[in-house]
Symmetry: C2
Subunit: 324 residues, 2 copies
Protein backbone atom coordinates (compact mmCIF):
# COMPACT_ATOMS: atom_id res chain seq x y z
CA UNK A 1 0.00 0.00 0.00
CA UNK A 2 2.66 2.53 1.10
CA UNK A 3 5.38 0.87 -0.95
CA UNK A 4 6.53 4.15 -2.39
CA UNK A 5 6.10 6.31 0.69
CA UNK A 6 8.95 6.72 3.18
CA UNK A 7 8.84 4.37 6.18
CA UNK A 8 7.07 5.48 9.31
CA UNK A 9 9.73 6.39 11.88
CA UNK A 10 8.95 5.29 15.42
CA UNK A 11 10.61 5.62 18.82
CA UNK A 12 9.84 3.26 21.69
CA UNK A 13 10.04 5.09 25.01
CA UNK A 14 9.96 2.52 27.79
CA UNK A 15 11.34 -0.98 27.30
CA UNK A 16 9.57 -3.12 29.87
CA UNK A 17 7.28 -6.00 28.95
CA UNK A 18 5.04 -3.93 26.65
CA UNK A 19 7.92 -2.04 24.99
CA UNK A 20 9.67 -5.33 24.29
CA UNK A 21 6.42 -6.75 22.92
CA UNK A 22 6.11 -3.77 20.58
CA UNK A 23 9.73 -4.22 19.42
CA UNK A 24 9.04 -7.90 18.79
CA UNK A 25 6.00 -7.19 16.63
CA UNK A 26 7.59 -4.25 14.78
CA UNK A 27 10.42 -6.50 13.61
CA UNK A 28 7.95 -8.07 11.17
CA UNK A 29 6.16 -4.91 10.09
CA UNK A 30 7.12 -3.46 6.72
CA UNK A 31 7.52 0.28 6.24
CA UNK A 32 8.09 0.95 9.92
CA UNK A 33 11.56 1.97 11.12
CA UNK A 34 12.43 2.13 14.82
CA UNK A 35 14.78 5.11 15.21
CA UNK A 36 15.38 4.80 18.96
CA UNK A 37 14.52 2.72 22.01
CA UNK A 38 14.78 4.12 25.52
CA UNK A 39 14.69 2.27 28.82
CA UNK A 40 15.22 3.72 32.30
CA UNK A 41 18.98 3.43 31.90
CA UNK A 42 19.60 4.90 28.48
CA UNK A 43 18.90 5.18 24.78
CA UNK A 44 19.74 2.95 21.82
CA UNK A 45 19.75 4.81 18.51
CA UNK A 46 18.95 3.08 15.17
CA UNK A 47 18.85 -0.25 16.98
CA UNK A 48 18.81 -3.72 15.53
CA UNK A 49 15.68 -4.88 17.34
CA UNK A 50 16.66 -8.55 17.52
CA UNK A 51 19.99 -7.74 19.12
CA UNK A 52 18.40 -5.21 21.43
CA UNK A 53 15.78 -7.68 22.65
CA UNK A 54 18.48 -10.28 23.36
CA UNK A 55 20.57 -7.77 25.32
CA UNK A 56 17.55 -6.65 27.33
CA UNK A 57 16.45 -10.20 28.14
CA UNK A 58 20.01 -11.00 29.26
CA UNK A 59 19.86 -8.03 31.66
CA UNK A 60 22.51 -6.12 29.74
CA UNK A 61 22.33 -2.36 29.08
CA UNK A 62 20.86 -1.33 25.74
CA UNK A 63 22.22 2.24 25.50
CA UNK A 64 24.58 3.20 22.68
CA UNK A 65 24.26 6.98 23.06
CA UNK A 66 24.31 9.73 25.67
CA UNK A 67 20.86 11.01 24.77
CA UNK A 68 17.98 10.90 27.25
CA UNK A 69 14.48 9.75 26.27
CA UNK A 70 13.36 13.37 26.28
CA UNK A 71 16.20 14.37 24.00
CA UNK A 72 15.23 11.60 21.57
CA UNK A 73 11.67 12.90 21.56
CA UNK A 74 12.85 16.46 20.96
CA UNK A 75 15.75 16.08 18.57
CA UNK A 76 15.57 12.84 16.57
CA UNK A 77 13.41 13.22 13.45
CA UNK A 78 10.54 10.72 13.62
CA UNK A 79 6.78 10.38 13.23
CA UNK A 80 5.44 8.40 16.17
CA UNK A 81 6.44 8.16 19.83
CA UNK A 82 5.32 4.85 21.35
CA UNK A 83 5.06 5.88 25.02
CA UNK A 84 5.09 2.76 27.19
CA UNK A 85 6.72 3.88 30.43
CA UNK A 86 5.12 2.78 33.74
CA UNK A 87 1.72 4.24 34.62
CA UNK A 88 1.57 6.86 37.35
CA UNK A 89 -1.95 8.16 37.89
CA UNK A 90 -0.91 10.73 40.52
CA UNK A 91 0.98 13.05 38.19
CA UNK A 92 1.22 11.08 34.93
CA UNK A 93 5.04 11.27 34.87
CA UNK A 94 7.31 10.62 33.14
CA UNK A 95 4.79 9.85 30.38
CA UNK A 96 3.04 13.20 30.52
CA UNK A 97 6.21 15.19 29.84
CA UNK A 98 7.15 12.75 27.08
CA UNK A 99 3.75 13.17 25.43
CA UNK A 100 3.67 16.96 25.69
CA UNK A 101 7.12 17.24 24.15
CA UNK A 102 6.35 14.71 21.43
CA UNK A 103 3.21 16.53 20.37
CA UNK A 104 4.90 19.95 20.45
CA UNK A 105 7.54 18.49 18.14
CA UNK A 106 4.78 17.26 15.82
CA UNK A 107 5.10 13.60 16.54
CA UNK A 108 2.04 11.39 16.98
CA UNK A 109 1.59 9.36 20.17
CA UNK A 110 0.64 5.72 20.54
CA UNK A 111 0.47 4.58 24.15
CA UNK A 112 -0.60 1.99 26.69
CA UNK A 113 0.20 4.41 29.54
CA UNK A 114 -2.98 5.40 31.36
CA UNK A 115 -1.32 7.93 33.67
CA UNK A 116 -1.02 10.94 31.35
CA UNK A 117 -4.53 10.37 29.99
CA UNK A 118 -6.07 10.15 33.45
CA UNK A 119 -4.28 13.32 34.60
CA UNK A 120 -4.48 15.51 31.50
CA UNK A 121 -6.77 14.00 28.89
CA UNK A 122 -8.20 17.17 27.38
CA UNK A 123 -4.93 19.07 27.47
CA UNK A 124 -3.29 16.29 25.43
CA UNK A 125 -6.20 15.92 23.01
CA UNK A 126 -6.26 19.65 22.35
CA UNK A 127 -2.49 19.88 22.02
CA UNK A 128 -2.59 17.01 19.51
CA UNK A 129 -5.34 18.74 17.55
CA UNK A 130 -3.44 22.05 17.48
CA UNK A 131 -0.31 20.31 16.23
CA UNK A 132 -2.21 18.11 13.78
CA UNK A 133 -0.87 14.83 15.13
CA UNK A 134 -2.61 11.65 16.27
CA UNK A 135 -3.03 10.57 19.90
CA UNK A 136 -3.94 6.87 20.02
CA UNK A 137 -4.46 4.86 23.17
CA UNK A 138 -6.40 1.66 22.39
CA UNK A 139 -3.96 -0.27 24.60
CA UNK A 140 -4.82 1.74 27.72
CA UNK A 141 -8.22 0.07 28.11
CA UNK A 142 -8.56 -3.68 28.05
CA UNK A 143 -5.19 -4.54 26.51
CA UNK A 144 -5.86 -6.52 23.36
CA UNK A 145 -9.63 -6.23 23.71
CA UNK A 146 -10.56 -3.61 21.16
CA UNK A 147 -12.89 -0.99 22.55
CA UNK A 148 -11.78 2.50 21.66
CA UNK A 149 -11.27 1.78 17.98
CA UNK A 150 -14.34 -0.46 17.96
CA UNK A 151 -16.46 2.48 19.07
CA UNK A 152 -14.65 5.02 16.86
CA UNK A 153 -14.51 3.03 13.64
CA UNK A 154 -16.72 0.01 13.63
CA UNK A 155 -19.73 1.45 15.46
CA UNK A 156 -19.43 4.81 13.71
CA UNK A 157 -23.10 4.80 12.64
CA UNK A 158 -24.28 4.77 16.23
CA UNK A 159 -24.58 7.14 19.13
CA UNK A 160 -22.94 5.60 22.20
CA UNK A 161 -25.27 5.83 25.18
CA UNK A 162 -23.17 4.09 27.84
CA UNK A 163 -20.30 1.69 28.39
CA UNK A 164 -19.95 -0.71 31.31
CA UNK A 165 -17.22 -3.22 31.72
CA UNK A 166 -15.19 -5.81 33.52
CA UNK A 167 -11.94 -3.93 32.97
CA UNK A 168 -9.43 -5.52 35.35
CA UNK A 169 -8.25 -9.09 34.82
CA UNK A 170 -6.81 -9.48 38.32
CA UNK A 171 -10.13 -8.68 39.98
CA UNK A 172 -11.98 -10.87 37.53
CA UNK A 173 -9.65 -13.78 38.22
CA UNK A 174 -10.09 -13.40 41.99
CA UNK A 175 -13.89 -13.18 41.82
CA UNK A 176 -14.13 -16.07 39.34
CA UNK A 177 -11.98 -18.35 41.51
CA UNK A 178 -13.81 -17.34 44.71
CA UNK A 179 -17.13 -18.20 43.07
CA UNK A 180 -15.98 -21.47 41.51
CA UNK A 181 -14.17 -22.85 44.54
CA UNK A 182 -15.99 -21.13 47.41
CA UNK A 183 -12.65 -19.75 48.62
CA UNK A 184 -11.96 -16.64 50.72
CA UNK A 185 -10.69 -13.44 49.17
CA UNK A 186 -7.33 -13.69 50.97
CA UNK A 187 -6.73 -17.26 49.85
CA UNK A 188 -7.39 -16.48 46.20
CA UNK A 189 -5.37 -13.27 46.35
CA UNK A 190 -2.33 -15.25 47.58
CA UNK A 191 -2.86 -17.77 44.82
CA UNK A 192 -3.09 -14.97 42.24
CA UNK A 193 0.10 -13.41 43.61
CA UNK A 194 1.90 -16.76 43.39
CA UNK A 195 0.78 -17.06 39.76
CA UNK A 196 1.88 -13.54 38.86
CA UNK A 197 -1.73 -12.51 38.16
CA UNK A 198 -1.75 -10.10 41.14
CA UNK A 199 1.09 -7.77 42.17
CA UNK A 200 2.86 -8.08 45.53
CA UNK A 201 1.03 -4.84 46.40
CA UNK A 202 -2.34 -5.53 44.78
CA UNK A 203 -3.94 -2.21 45.82
CA UNK A 204 -4.00 -0.66 42.36
CA UNK A 205 -6.02 -3.58 40.98
CA UNK A 206 -8.19 -4.87 43.82
CA UNK A 207 -9.22 -1.45 45.14
CA UNK A 208 -10.59 -0.53 41.72
CA UNK A 209 -8.03 2.19 40.94
CA UNK A 210 -6.99 0.63 37.63
CA UNK A 211 -10.64 0.17 36.60
CA UNK A 212 -11.40 3.78 37.56
CA UNK A 213 -8.52 5.00 35.37
CA UNK A 214 -10.07 3.21 32.41
CA UNK A 215 -13.50 4.69 33.25
CA UNK A 216 -11.91 8.16 33.20
CA UNK A 217 -10.35 7.55 29.78
CA UNK A 218 -13.61 6.19 28.29
CA UNK A 219 -15.70 8.98 29.84
CA UNK A 220 -13.44 11.68 28.44
CA UNK A 221 -13.22 9.94 25.05
CA UNK A 222 -16.84 9.22 24.35
CA UNK A 223 -19.10 11.23 26.62
CA UNK A 224 -17.72 14.70 26.28
CA UNK A 225 -16.72 14.72 29.93
CA UNK A 226 -13.73 16.40 31.50
CA UNK A 227 -13.06 14.22 34.52
CA UNK A 228 -10.13 12.76 36.41
CA UNK A 229 -9.70 9.95 38.90
CA UNK A 230 -11.13 12.04 41.75
CA UNK A 231 -14.50 12.22 39.96
CA UNK A 232 -15.05 8.45 40.09
CA UNK A 233 -16.77 6.80 43.07
CA UNK A 234 -14.69 3.66 43.65
CA UNK A 235 -15.31 0.52 45.72
CA UNK A 236 -12.90 -2.41 45.49
CA UNK A 237 -13.44 -6.16 45.77
CA UNK A 238 -11.62 -6.77 49.08
CA UNK A 239 -14.80 -7.15 51.12
CA UNK A 240 -16.59 -9.63 48.87
CA UNK A 241 -17.25 -12.96 50.61
CA UNK A 242 -17.77 -16.45 49.17
CA UNK A 243 -21.23 -16.31 50.76
CA UNK A 244 -22.18 -13.24 48.78
CA UNK A 245 -21.04 -14.93 45.58
CA UNK A 246 -22.98 -18.08 46.43
CA UNK A 247 -26.19 -16.21 47.21
CA UNK A 248 -25.90 -14.22 44.02
CA UNK A 249 -25.34 -17.41 42.04
CA UNK A 250 -28.46 -18.99 43.53
CA UNK A 251 -30.45 -16.06 42.20
CA UNK A 252 -28.88 -16.34 38.75
CA UNK A 253 -26.22 -13.67 39.09
CA UNK A 254 -22.46 -13.37 39.16
CA UNK A 255 -20.68 -10.58 41.05
CA UNK A 256 -18.16 -8.66 38.96
CA UNK A 257 -16.20 -5.47 39.54
CA UNK A 258 -17.95 -3.19 37.06
CA UNK A 259 -16.84 0.19 35.76
CA UNK A 260 -19.83 2.27 34.66
CA UNK A 261 -18.75 5.08 32.44
CA UNK A 262 -21.74 7.44 32.37
CA UNK A 263 -22.28 7.00 36.10
CA UNK A 264 -18.54 7.36 36.87
CA UNK A 265 -18.61 4.47 39.34
CA UNK A 266 -16.51 1.40 39.97
CA UNK A 267 -18.06 -1.19 42.27
CA UNK A 268 -18.95 -4.87 42.60
CA UNK A 269 -22.28 -5.41 40.81
CA UNK A 270 -24.60 -8.34 40.13
CA UNK A 271 -24.60 -9.41 36.48
CA UNK A 272 -27.09 -11.98 35.15
CA UNK A 273 -25.23 -15.25 34.54
CA UNK A 274 -26.32 -15.37 30.87
CA UNK A 275 -25.16 -11.80 30.16
CA UNK A 276 -22.18 -11.49 27.81
CA UNK A 277 -20.32 -9.37 30.42
CA UNK A 278 -20.16 -12.43 32.64
CA UNK A 279 -16.77 -13.66 31.44
CA UNK A 280 -14.48 -15.83 33.56
CA UNK A 281 -10.82 -15.97 34.55
CA UNK A 282 -8.62 -13.01 33.72
CA UNK A 283 -10.76 -11.94 30.74
CA UNK A 284 -11.96 -8.39 30.30
CA UNK A 285 -15.30 -7.49 28.72
CA UNK A 286 -17.13 -4.28 27.89
CA UNK A 287 -20.75 -3.72 26.89
CA UNK A 288 -21.36 -0.73 24.67
CA UNK A 289 -24.94 0.50 24.68
CA UNK A 290 -25.83 2.14 21.37
CA UNK A 291 -28.92 3.85 20.04
CA UNK A 292 -29.40 1.63 16.95
CA UNK A 293 -27.19 -1.43 17.25
CA UNK A 294 -28.38 -2.23 20.78
CA UNK A 295 -25.86 -3.57 23.25
CA UNK A 296 -22.58 -4.80 21.74
CA UNK A 297 -20.22 -6.69 24.04
CA UNK A 298 -16.57 -7.36 23.35
CA UNK A 299 -14.37 -9.66 25.40
CA UNK A 300 -10.69 -10.54 25.31
CA UNK A 301 -7.44 -10.67 27.18
CA UNK A 302 -7.05 -7.50 29.18
CA UNK A 303 -3.35 -7.84 29.77
CA UNK A 304 -0.23 -9.60 28.52
CA UNK A 305 2.70 -7.94 26.85
CA UNK A 306 2.17 -9.26 23.33
CA UNK A 307 -1.57 -8.71 23.52
CA UNK A 308 -1.09 -5.11 24.67
CA UNK A 309 1.63 -4.63 22.07
CA UNK A 310 -0.76 -5.84 19.37
CA UNK A 311 -3.17 -3.04 20.32
CA UNK A 312 -0.29 -0.57 19.97
CA UNK A 313 0.60 -1.97 16.56
CA UNK A 314 -3.05 -1.65 15.46
CA UNK A 315 -2.88 2.03 16.37
CA UNK A 316 0.40 2.45 14.47
CA UNK A 317 -1.15 0.80 11.42
CA UNK A 318 -4.17 3.05 11.54
CA UNK A 319 -1.92 6.13 11.61
CA UNK A 320 0.00 4.68 8.68
CA UNK A 321 -3.26 4.14 6.81
CA UNK A 322 -4.36 7.72 7.37
CA UNK A 323 -1.25 9.15 5.73
CA UNK A 324 -3.08 9.06 2.39
CA UNK B 1 -15.95 16.43 7.37
CA UNK B 2 -17.25 16.34 3.79
CA UNK B 3 -19.08 19.63 4.14
CA UNK B 4 -17.80 20.86 0.80
CA UNK B 5 -18.02 17.59 -1.07
CA UNK B 6 -21.20 16.65 -2.93
CA UNK B 7 -23.61 14.39 -1.03
CA UNK B 8 -23.26 10.63 -1.37
CA UNK B 9 -26.11 9.44 -3.60
CA UNK B 10 -27.72 6.18 -2.51
CA UNK B 11 -30.47 3.91 -3.82
CA UNK B 12 -32.31 1.46 -1.57
CA UNK B 13 -33.24 -1.68 -3.49
CA UNK B 14 -35.66 -3.70 -1.38
CA UNK B 15 -38.04 -2.03 1.05
CA UNK B 16 -38.88 -4.69 3.61
CA UNK B 17 -37.97 -4.39 7.29
CA UNK B 18 -34.27 -3.76 6.69
CA UNK B 19 -34.82 -1.35 3.78
CA UNK B 20 -37.28 0.63 5.87
CA UNK B 21 -34.78 0.61 8.74
CA UNK B 22 -32.10 2.01 6.44
CA UNK B 23 -34.47 4.72 5.19
CA UNK B 24 -35.30 5.63 8.79
CA UNK B 25 -31.65 6.02 9.75
CA UNK B 26 -30.64 7.83 6.55
CA UNK B 27 -33.23 10.53 7.25
CA UNK B 28 -30.90 11.83 9.95
CA UNK B 29 -27.61 11.39 8.12
CA UNK B 30 -26.06 14.53 6.64
CA UNK B 31 -24.46 14.46 3.18
CA UNK B 32 -26.38 11.39 2.08
CA UNK B 33 -29.11 11.71 -0.53
CA UNK B 34 -31.48 8.85 -1.35
CA UNK B 35 -32.10 9.02 -5.10
CA UNK B 36 -34.49 6.07 -5.37
CA UNK B 37 -36.24 3.38 -3.34
CA UNK B 38 -37.49 0.17 -4.94
CA UNK B 39 -39.84 -2.41 -3.50
CA UNK B 40 -41.26 -5.47 -5.25
CA UNK B 41 -44.05 -3.38 -6.74
CA UNK B 42 -42.19 -0.37 -8.12
CA UNK B 43 -39.78 2.51 -7.76
CA UNK B 44 -39.98 5.87 -6.01
CA UNK B 45 -37.57 8.45 -7.43
CA UNK B 46 -36.13 11.32 -5.31
CA UNK B 47 -38.43 10.27 -2.48
CA UNK B 48 -39.26 12.13 0.68
CA UNK B 49 -38.27 9.34 3.08
CA UNK B 50 -40.74 10.29 5.80
CA UNK B 51 -43.66 10.25 3.40
CA UNK B 52 -42.43 7.04 1.78
CA UNK B 53 -42.14 5.24 5.13
CA UNK B 54 -45.67 6.30 6.07
CA UNK B 55 -47.07 5.09 2.75
CA UNK B 56 -45.26 1.77 3.06
CA UNK B 57 -46.42 1.21 6.64
CA UNK B 58 -49.98 1.96 5.59
CA UNK B 59 -49.69 -0.73 2.89
CA UNK B 60 -49.94 1.82 0.07
CA UNK B 61 -47.79 1.64 -3.07
CA UNK B 62 -44.63 3.71 -3.07
CA UNK B 63 -43.93 3.90 -6.82
CA UNK B 64 -43.94 7.27 -8.59
CA UNK B 65 -42.20 6.11 -11.78
CA UNK B 66 -42.25 3.36 -14.40
CA UNK B 67 -38.64 2.36 -13.80
CA UNK B 68 -37.71 -1.08 -12.50
CA UNK B 69 -35.12 -1.59 -9.78
CA UNK B 70 -32.65 -2.76 -12.41
CA UNK B 71 -33.26 0.35 -14.49
CA UNK B 72 -32.60 2.51 -11.44
CA UNK B 73 -29.32 0.70 -10.88
CA UNK B 74 -28.34 1.11 -14.52
CA UNK B 75 -29.56 4.58 -15.40
CA UNK B 76 -29.90 6.82 -12.34
CA UNK B 77 -26.61 8.51 -11.43
CA UNK B 78 -25.64 7.52 -7.90
CA UNK B 79 -22.76 6.22 -5.78
CA UNK B 80 -24.05 3.38 -3.61
CA UNK B 81 -26.67 0.69 -4.12
CA UNK B 82 -28.03 -0.57 -0.79
CA UNK B 83 -29.12 -4.06 -1.82
CA UNK B 84 -31.59 -5.40 0.77
CA UNK B 85 -33.87 -7.70 -1.21
CA UNK B 86 -34.74 -11.12 0.31
CA UNK B 87 -31.93 -13.68 0.60
CA UNK B 88 -31.95 -16.61 -1.81
CA UNK B 89 -28.98 -18.89 -1.30
CA UNK B 90 -29.87 -21.17 -4.23
CA UNK B 91 -29.15 -18.69 -7.00
CA UNK B 92 -28.65 -15.39 -5.18
CA UNK B 93 -31.41 -13.67 -7.15
CA UNK B 94 -32.60 -11.01 -7.55
CA UNK B 95 -29.72 -9.60 -5.50
CA UNK B 96 -26.95 -11.10 -7.63
CA UNK B 97 -28.13 -9.42 -10.84
CA UNK B 98 -28.62 -6.15 -8.96
CA UNK B 99 -25.08 -6.31 -7.60
CA UNK B 100 -23.44 -7.24 -10.90
CA UNK B 101 -25.20 -4.40 -12.68
CA UNK B 102 -24.44 -1.92 -9.93
CA UNK B 103 -20.73 -2.72 -9.95
CA UNK B 104 -20.52 -2.64 -13.76
CA UNK B 105 -22.06 0.81 -13.58
CA UNK B 106 -19.40 1.82 -11.03
CA UNK B 107 -21.64 1.99 -8.03
CA UNK B 108 -20.53 0.63 -4.67
CA UNK B 109 -22.62 -2.01 -2.88
CA UNK B 110 -23.71 -2.11 0.73
CA UNK B 111 -25.83 -5.13 1.56
CA UNK B 112 -27.39 -7.39 4.19
CA UNK B 113 -28.28 -9.95 1.50
CA UNK B 114 -26.30 -13.15 2.03
CA UNK B 115 -27.53 -14.89 -1.14
CA UNK B 116 -25.31 -13.25 -3.78
CA UNK B 117 -22.24 -13.53 -1.51
CA UNK B 118 -22.83 -17.21 -0.81
CA UNK B 119 -23.33 -17.98 -4.50
CA UNK B 120 -20.71 -15.75 -6.14
CA UNK B 121 -18.40 -14.23 -3.55
CA UNK B 122 -15.18 -14.10 -5.54
CA UNK B 123 -16.85 -13.04 -8.77
CA UNK B 124 -18.35 -10.04 -6.98
CA UNK B 125 -15.16 -9.16 -5.10
CA UNK B 126 -13.14 -9.26 -8.29
CA UNK B 127 -15.73 -7.33 -10.27
CA UNK B 128 -15.73 -4.67 -7.56
CA UNK B 129 -11.94 -4.49 -7.63
CA UNK B 130 -11.86 -4.16 -11.43
CA UNK B 131 -14.39 -1.36 -11.30
CA UNK B 132 -12.77 0.33 -8.30
CA UNK B 133 -15.91 0.32 -6.18
CA UNK B 134 -16.56 -0.89 -2.63
CA UNK B 135 -18.46 -4.06 -1.72
CA UNK B 136 -19.49 -3.93 1.95
CA UNK B 137 -21.52 -6.55 3.75
CA UNK B 138 -21.10 -6.17 7.52
CA UNK B 139 -24.87 -6.65 7.90
CA UNK B 140 -24.81 -10.15 6.34
CA UNK B 141 -23.16 -11.72 9.41
CA UNK B 142 -24.53 -11.14 12.88
CA UNK B 143 -26.75 -8.14 12.12
CA UNK B 144 -25.62 -5.32 14.39
CA UNK B 145 -22.81 -7.38 15.89
CA UNK B 146 -19.70 -6.03 14.21
CA UNK B 147 -17.44 -8.76 12.94
CA UNK B 148 -16.30 -8.10 9.39
CA UNK B 149 -15.25 -4.52 10.03
CA UNK B 150 -13.92 -5.48 13.47
CA UNK B 151 -11.53 -7.92 11.82
CA UNK B 152 -10.70 -5.64 8.89
CA UNK B 153 -10.17 -2.41 10.76
CA UNK B 154 -9.84 -2.84 14.48
CA UNK B 155 -7.79 -6.03 14.53
CA UNK B 156 -5.66 -4.96 11.55
CA UNK B 157 -2.39 -5.66 13.39
CA UNK B 158 -3.22 -9.33 13.75
CA UNK B 159 -3.32 -12.42 11.61
CA UNK B 160 -6.72 -14.12 11.98
CA UNK B 161 -6.29 -17.82 12.69
CA UNK B 162 -9.91 -18.89 13.03
CA UNK B 163 -13.42 -17.67 13.73
CA UNK B 164 -16.15 -19.63 15.45
CA UNK B 165 -19.54 -18.31 16.32
CA UNK B 166 -23.10 -18.53 17.52
CA UNK B 167 -24.45 -16.94 14.37
CA UNK B 168 -28.19 -17.61 14.41
CA UNK B 169 -30.44 -15.98 17.00
CA UNK B 170 -33.36 -18.34 16.44
CA UNK B 171 -31.26 -21.44 17.20
CA UNK B 172 -29.69 -19.73 20.17
CA UNK B 173 -33.08 -18.78 21.57
CA UNK B 174 -34.38 -22.34 21.20
CA UNK B 175 -31.31 -23.94 22.83
CA UNK B 176 -31.23 -21.36 25.62
CA UNK B 177 -34.91 -21.91 26.47
CA UNK B 178 -34.61 -25.70 26.24
CA UNK B 179 -31.69 -25.61 28.68
CA UNK B 180 -33.27 -23.15 31.09
CA UNK B 181 -36.71 -24.75 31.26
CA UNK B 182 -35.91 -28.39 30.41
CA UNK B 183 -38.40 -28.19 27.56
CA UNK B 184 -38.55 -30.28 24.35
CA UNK B 185 -37.36 -28.92 21.05
CA UNK B 186 -40.87 -28.94 19.55
CA UNK B 187 -42.37 -27.06 22.49
CA UNK B 188 -39.79 -24.30 22.34
CA UNK B 189 -39.95 -24.09 18.55
CA UNK B 190 -43.71 -23.45 18.78
CA UNK B 191 -43.13 -20.83 21.44
CA UNK B 192 -40.48 -19.16 19.24
CA UNK B 193 -42.85 -19.21 16.27
CA UNK B 194 -45.59 -17.62 18.39
CA UNK B 195 -43.16 -14.88 19.41
CA UNK B 196 -42.01 -14.22 15.86
CA UNK B 197 -38.48 -15.41 16.70
CA UNK B 198 -38.81 -18.43 14.41
CA UNK B 199 -40.42 -18.48 10.97
CA UNK B 200 -43.50 -20.58 10.16
CA UNK B 201 -41.07 -22.73 8.13
CA UNK B 202 -38.06 -22.72 10.43
CA UNK B 203 -35.85 -24.93 8.21
CA UNK B 204 -33.47 -22.20 7.11
CA UNK B 205 -32.59 -21.36 10.72
CA UNK B 206 -32.87 -24.61 12.70
CA UNK B 207 -31.21 -26.83 10.10
CA UNK B 208 -28.13 -24.60 10.16
CA UNK B 209 -28.47 -23.26 6.61
CA UNK B 210 -28.37 -19.61 7.71
CA UNK B 211 -25.32 -20.26 9.90
CA UNK B 212 -23.60 -22.09 7.04
CA UNK B 213 -24.20 -19.10 4.75
CA UNK B 214 -22.41 -16.89 7.25
CA UNK B 215 -19.56 -19.40 7.54
CA UNK B 216 -19.18 -19.27 3.74
CA UNK B 217 -19.00 -15.46 3.76
CA UNK B 218 -16.44 -15.39 6.59
CA UNK B 219 -14.33 -18.17 5.05
CA UNK B 220 -14.17 -16.40 1.69
CA UNK B 221 -13.51 -13.04 3.33
CA UNK B 222 -10.75 -13.91 5.76
CA UNK B 223 -9.24 -17.27 4.90
CA UNK B 224 -8.56 -16.97 1.23
CA UNK B 225 -11.04 -19.72 0.48
CA UNK B 226 -13.31 -20.05 -2.50
CA UNK B 227 -16.23 -22.01 -1.11
CA UNK B 228 -20.01 -22.10 -1.36
CA UNK B 229 -22.79 -23.59 0.73
CA UNK B 230 -22.12 -27.12 -0.61
CA UNK B 231 -18.64 -27.08 0.97
CA UNK B 232 -19.97 -26.76 4.52
CA UNK B 233 -20.82 -29.85 6.60
CA UNK B 234 -24.06 -28.87 8.32
CA UNK B 235 -25.98 -30.40 11.23
CA UNK B 236 -29.02 -28.62 12.67
CA UNK B 237 -30.40 -28.43 16.20
CA UNK B 238 -33.63 -30.41 15.66
CA UNK B 239 -32.36 -33.56 17.36
CA UNK B 240 -31.04 -31.94 20.54
CA UNK B 241 -32.85 -33.18 23.65
CA UNK B 242 -33.33 -31.54 27.05
CA UNK B 243 -31.40 -34.53 28.47
CA UNK B 244 -28.35 -33.76 26.36
CA UNK B 245 -28.46 -30.13 27.51
CA UNK B 246 -28.81 -31.19 31.15
CA UNK B 247 -25.91 -33.65 30.98
CA UNK B 248 -23.70 -31.06 29.30
CA UNK B 249 -24.62 -28.51 31.97
CA UNK B 250 -23.67 -30.93 34.74
CA UNK B 251 -20.21 -31.17 33.20
CA UNK B 252 -19.88 -27.39 32.93
CA UNK B 253 -20.88 -26.98 29.29
CA UNK B 254 -23.65 -25.41 27.25
CA UNK B 255 -24.64 -26.75 23.83
CA UNK B 256 -24.71 -24.13 21.08
CA UNK B 257 -25.04 -24.32 17.31
CA UNK B 258 -21.50 -23.34 16.30
CA UNK B 259 -20.24 -22.31 12.91
CA UNK B 260 -16.51 -23.05 12.58
CA UNK B 261 -15.01 -21.12 9.74
CA UNK B 262 -11.66 -22.83 9.10
CA UNK B 263 -13.25 -26.25 9.50
CA UNK B 264 -16.27 -25.32 7.36
CA UNK B 265 -18.68 -26.99 9.75
CA UNK B 266 -21.95 -26.06 11.41
CA UNK B 267 -23.02 -28.32 14.26
CA UNK B 268 -24.15 -28.36 17.89
CA UNK B 269 -21.03 -28.18 20.07
CA UNK B 270 -20.23 -28.11 23.79
CA UNK B 271 -18.98 -24.72 24.97
CA UNK B 272 -17.60 -24.20 28.50
CA UNK B 273 -20.18 -22.28 30.52
CA UNK B 274 -17.68 -19.51 31.38
CA UNK B 275 -16.62 -18.99 27.75
CA UNK B 276 -17.61 -15.65 26.20
CA UNK B 277 -19.32 -17.48 23.30
CA UNK B 278 -21.86 -18.82 25.76
CA UNK B 279 -24.42 -16.03 25.31
CA UNK B 280 -28.11 -16.47 25.97
CA UNK B 281 -31.43 -15.68 24.29
CA UNK B 282 -31.37 -14.49 20.70
CA UNK B 283 -27.86 -13.04 20.97
CA UNK B 284 -25.16 -13.82 18.46
CA UNK B 285 -21.47 -14.08 19.36
CA UNK B 286 -18.26 -14.74 17.48
CA UNK B 287 -14.79 -15.59 18.78
CA UNK B 288 -11.93 -14.45 16.61
CA UNK B 289 -8.68 -16.26 17.24
CA UNK B 290 -5.69 -14.06 16.43
CA UNK B 291 -1.95 -14.59 16.52
CA UNK B 292 -1.11 -11.72 18.88
CA UNK B 293 -4.30 -10.43 20.50
CA UNK B 294 -5.43 -13.91 21.53
CA UNK B 295 -9.13 -14.71 21.32
CA UNK B 296 -11.43 -11.71 20.94
CA UNK B 297 -15.16 -12.33 21.32
CA UNK B 298 -17.88 -9.97 20.21
CA UNK B 299 -21.56 -10.38 21.04
CA UNK B 300 -24.68 -8.49 20.07
CA UNK B 301 -28.10 -8.64 18.51
CA UNK B 302 -27.92 -10.77 15.40
CA UNK B 303 -31.16 -9.57 13.91
CA UNK B 304 -33.73 -6.77 14.04
CA UNK B 305 -34.41 -4.28 11.30
CA UNK B 306 -32.91 -1.20 12.95
CA UNK B 307 -29.91 -3.16 14.22
CA UNK B 308 -29.22 -4.58 10.77
CA UNK B 309 -29.83 -1.17 9.23
CA UNK B 310 -27.26 0.34 11.59
CA UNK B 311 -24.64 -2.07 10.24
CA UNK B 312 -25.55 -0.92 6.73
CA UNK B 313 -25.22 2.72 7.76
CA UNK B 314 -21.79 1.99 9.29
CA UNK B 315 -20.71 0.62 5.92
CA UNK B 316 -22.09 3.67 4.11
CA UNK B 317 -20.20 5.94 6.50
CA UNK B 318 -16.96 4.08 5.96
CA UNK B 319 -17.32 4.48 2.18
CA UNK B 320 -18.02 8.17 2.74
CA UNK B 321 -14.90 8.44 4.90
CA UNK B 322 -12.74 6.83 2.24
CA UNK B 323 -13.66 9.40 -0.38
CA UNK B 324 -10.70 11.49 0.81
Amino acid sequence: MQNNSPPLRVSIIGFGAVGQGVATLLQDLPHVEVVAVADSRGVALTPNLGTLLSRKRAGRPIANSDLTALEVIRTIEHDIVVEVTPTNIENGEPGLTHMREAIKNRRSIVTSNKGPLVVAFHELVQLARENDVALRYEATVGGAMPIINLVRETLAGNRILDIMGVLNGTCNYILTRMAEEALDYDQVLSEAQDMGIAEADPTYDVMGIDTASKVVILANSFFDKNVTYADVAVTGIDRITPDALRLAHQRGFAIKLIGEVQELTVSPKMIPIGHPLNVGGTLNAASILTDHAGEITVAGKGAGSIETASAIVSDILSIQKERC
